[in-house]
């Protein structure tokens, strides 16, 4: 494990948590900030795609079996996941070599917020994957329709939460681009 001199001690548990998913993640240490940002974004897209695949399978099976209530719920969830992926794909980078050249330097509090938001976003999307997997499993186990719909909606809710955390993270990154007045 490499050293993380710029990472505050308070957020170290969050960094460790993210490293369980992204081993290369080292927080926003100097010189690796863009890499960290790209890692987070790629992981969210990857996880979102995974959840989407599960939900898509549910949608296909439900439609083929003319279970339109489940299919419609699955369609809504996939639409939400597509929205998350698009948000992540076209989000603010702010992580190039001019990370600090925007105007002001990142404070320790900014780094704390970023790392915490990274952790929360990854956690949410990971939960979404698990719930989507559970939903698909419930469908294959002939569970009641309402239970499957509930799981799909929970997945959608997690994706929405992840989108919210990611947008908050973008806001922090956007704030670094301007000097404090």
């Amino acid at each position: 494990m490499s050293q993380m001199p710029a990472v505050p001690i308070e957020v170290l548990p969050y960094v460790r948590g993210i490293q369980l998913v992204l081993s290369r993640y080292e927080g926003y240490t100097k010189g690796k900030r863009r890499e960290a940002d790209k890692l987070i974004r790629d992981e969210i897209k990857r996880a979102g795609t995974r959840a989407r695949n599960h939900i898509t399978n549910i949608q296909d099976v439900a439609f083929k079996s003319s279970n339109l209530s489940i299919a419609k719920a699955a369609k809504l969830a996939t639409t939400k996941i597509d929205s998350l992926i698009e948000d992540v794909d076209k989000s603010i980078t702010g992580m190039n070599h001019a990370f600090f050249s925007g105007s002001r330097s990142a404070k320790v509090s900014d780094l704390k917020k970023l790392i915490k938001h990274d952790h929360d976003a990854i956690e949410m999307v990971t939960k979404a994957i698990n719930i989507a997997n559970s939903a698909e499993h419930a469908l294959s186990s002939s569970k009641p329709d309402q239970e499957i719909i509930n799981l799909i909606q929970q997945c959608q809710q997690m994706i929405t939460s992840c989108q919210g955390f990611f947008n908050s993270r973008n806001k922090i990154l956007g704030g670094l681009r301007q000097k404090q007045k």
């Binding site: 795609t49 949608q59 296909d60 639409t79 597509d82 992926i85």
Partner: protein, 392 residues
């Protein structure tokens, strides 16, 4: 949407540089192997250049380099279709598919370019998907559509979208696309055109009717306004004429009232004068009557005195005659001659006493005359008749 570029054909002395924007990505295929997928990056020395030329000359560079560029933003594909509903109604329009290339799926585009031109645009993708879309999505969807109402319903669109996703997923995934959205845009059917025509005709009729009603209403309003204006003008003319007449009458009335007042004043003056005259005449009458009464009283008193004096004298004479007769009787002198003489003297005496009143009455007669109106005696010198009150 995507283009496969053979970098071996790029022969320039100046090294080429490409800036990949967020919605652009590039996949390097080097020596038949899929390399990095780059986006949001400035890719320098991507082809050409003297260094690469030297490397190729020395045989240290890759033998085959291809660049697969792709747009990663959502793209709308409009695929024309024509079909029939179970009731025979022909339906044509476009099936819109919104697809997207994800970065990790871009290399799958090589399946598309394997046996065709190295350029993929929307038209080509529509052509690729057309038959499958018609057979697996549009025709089954139209087969379930009973009428125009169902064709326009949201349930039909939802079902079409899910069917498109399910049926085309395999093909799109093979080509590297992810379907985001699908919907059908059906043109107006014949029955809808007929319904629209009927609605338009009805609307035209209603519009014409509404125009006619509005026109009639407008005419009625104008008529009412004209009549009202005429009525107002007549009323104004009447009022003006009445005003003029009133003014004239008032002026005449004022004159009349002035005359009336004058006449009343004159009447009061005349009445006052008459009253004064009447008062004066009545006063004179009263005075005359009082004088008359006084004269009459004096006359009656004088007559009474005369009558009394005459009676006394007659009594004295009768007494004297009686005494004379008695004396004559006592003296045996009462002869017929004496009696005759006595009667003769008595008669003479009566004759003397009798006409004593006559001369006084006849003496007063010339002072009286009869009133012209009531024919009653009035005294000369009276101003008014005491019986009828006229001015004498």
């Amino acid at each position: 949407m995507a283009k496969l570029v053979d970098a071996n054909n790029l022969k320039t002395w100046q090294a080429q540089e490409v800036v990949l924007k967020p919605n652009e990505a590039c996949v390097f295929i080097v020596d038949g192997r899929i390399g990095d997928i780059l986006t949001e990056k400035v890719v320098g020395n991507i082809a050409g250049g003297f260094n690469r030329f030297i490397g190729e000359m020395m045989g240290v560079t890759a033998k085959d380099r291809r660049l697969l560029f792709a747009m990663t933003g959502p793209a709308d594909i409009a695929i024309p279709f024509a079909g029939h509903m179970p009731n025979g109604t022909k339906v044509n329009g476009f099936a819109n598919l919104r697809v997207q290339l994800r970065n990790e799926d871009i290399p799958k585009l090589l399946n598309m370019f394997a046996n065709s031109a190295p350029v993929l645009d929307r038209r080509r993708l529509a052509e690729v998907l057309h038959n499958e879309l018609m057979m697996r999505v549009i025709n089954p969807s139209l087969a379930e559509c009973e009428d125009d109402t169902m064709l326009r319903s949201s349930a039909f669109q939802d079902k079409f979208e899910m069917r498109a996703e399910v049926e085309l997923r395999a093909t799109l995934t093979t080509l590297g696309f992810t379907m985001l959205k699908a919907f059908i845009t059906a043109n107006q059917t014949d029955s809808e055109k007929l319904t629209e025509l009927q609605a338009q005709l009805t609307a035209a009729s209603n519009t014409e009717g509404a125009h006619a009603e509005a026109l009639m209403e407008r005419i009625a309003i104008r008529e009412a306004a004209t009549l009202r204006r005429i009525e107002c003008e007549v009323n104004v003319a009447k009022a003006e004429a009445a005003g003029k007449v009133t003014v004239e009458l008032e002026s005449e009335l004022k004159e009349l009232r002035k005359d009336e007042a004058r006449w009343e004043a004159e009447l009061r003056r005349d009445e006052g004068k008459l009253d004064l005259k009447l008062k004066e005449s009545s006063h004179k009458t009263e005075q005359a009557m009082a004088l008359f009464e006084q004269v009459q009283a004096n006359k009656r008193e004088r007559i009474n005195q005369q009558m009394e004096h005459q009676n006394q004298r007659m009594d004295k004479q009768n007494e004297l005659q009686m005494k004379m007769m008695e004396m004559a009787a006592e003296n045996d002198a009462l002869t017929p001659e004496v009696m005759q003489e006595f009667l003769r003297q008595q008669t003479a005496q009566k004759a003397i006493d009798g006409p004593g009143n006559e001369p006084e009455a006849s003496a007063e007669k010339p002072n009286e005359y009869l009133c012209d109106k009531c024919s009653k005696p009035v005294m000369s010198g009276w101003n008014a008749c005491p019986h009828c009150g006229i001015i004498l």
